[in-house]
């Protein structure tokens, strides 16, 4: 393997951190969903790198399952966002307090 394992892990850690920046800083719910996808991709990259370098198949199986759940999460999350926009005319998370009482 020409590129050592630590490089892939470092890249994955930085991708995850960029996703955290998006979740913590932005106010638009769609951008927050995109940042969650970035974080999931960082975790996936870690799993694939370990799977290849340790000659262990289960990491790639797990990535497959994570991707399926991520697609399901994006579908349901975006449906909720579109529904909220229809009711409140905004997808700004600072204005979303429907669940509070």
């Amino acid at each position: 393997m020409p590129v050592p394992l630590g490089y892939y892990l470092g890249l994955a850690a930085i991708i995850f951190t960029v996703g955290v920046i998006g979740v913590l800083v932005r106010r638009n719910a769609i951008i927050i969903l995109m940042s969650i996808e970035l974080m999931l991709n960082g975790a996936n990259l870690t799993l694939v790198a370990f799977s290849v370098h340790l000659q262990e198949l289960s990491g790639q199986v797990f990535v497959f399952l994570v991707m399926t759940v991520a697609a399901a999460e994006a579908a349901v999350g975006l449906a909720i966002i579109v529904m909220i926009f229809r009711n409140r005319e905004s997808v700004n998370v600072d204005n979303l307090n429907i669940m509070k009482w």
Binding site: V18, I31, M34, E37, Q60, V61, A71
Partner: protein
């Protein structure tokens, strides 16, 4: 050769990921997300995990980001350039982000990773498919039920009344 490809892909990924979280125009964010996911598929090919790379292109580039673009189109009126895009807690967020980055990179540099002796031969797509149909058949079926539930849930939520 592999090193050069890795560095180019890493720069592409990090640049487009930063664009996703900083640009003001949400549609541009979605387009940079496509580029980011595509470069991560390139990294998977570099790791010789070709099945995962194909699934990445199909699911993330093909489905998830297109769904995101649909949502942007459906909610576009109030997301123009005049609206402030950053919330009121940038200092606290900066503190959390920098400590997270420093901690993960520190842990990464302190650990010596064990690598298999025959490193270099990646598990092939054939082995992966066989494992999915034998050892991991129960999670495989459960995740298909999860997909069905999410499909029905998304339709029920967005149908309105």
């Amino acid at each position: 050769m592999f090193d050069l490809a890795f560095y180019i892909l890493a720069v592409l990924i990090l640049g487009s990921a930063l664009m996703v979280v900083t640009l003001r125009n949400i549609f541009h964010c979605a387009l940079f997300l496509v580029l980011c996911m595509f470069s991560i598929a390139g990294i998977y090919i570099l790791l010789e995990a070709e099945f995962i790379a194909a699934v990445q292109v199909l699911i993330y580039v093909g489905a998830v980001t297109i769904l995101m673009i649909f949502a942007v189109m459906l909610t576009h009126q109030l997301t123009g350039k005049t609206i402030r895009q950053v919330n009121d807690q940038p200092i606290a967020a900066l503190f959390i982000i920098s400590s997270l980055l420093v901690l993960t990179l520190l842990a990464l540099s302190k650990t010596t990773w064990e690598v298999a002796s025959s490193s270099g031969v990646s598990p092939s797509a054939t082995e992966l498919g066989r494992a999915l149909m034998t050892v991991y058949v129960l999670p495989f079926e459960v995740v298909s039920v999860v997909l069905l539930v999410a499909l029905v849930g998304a339709i029920v939520i967005s149908r309105g009344d």
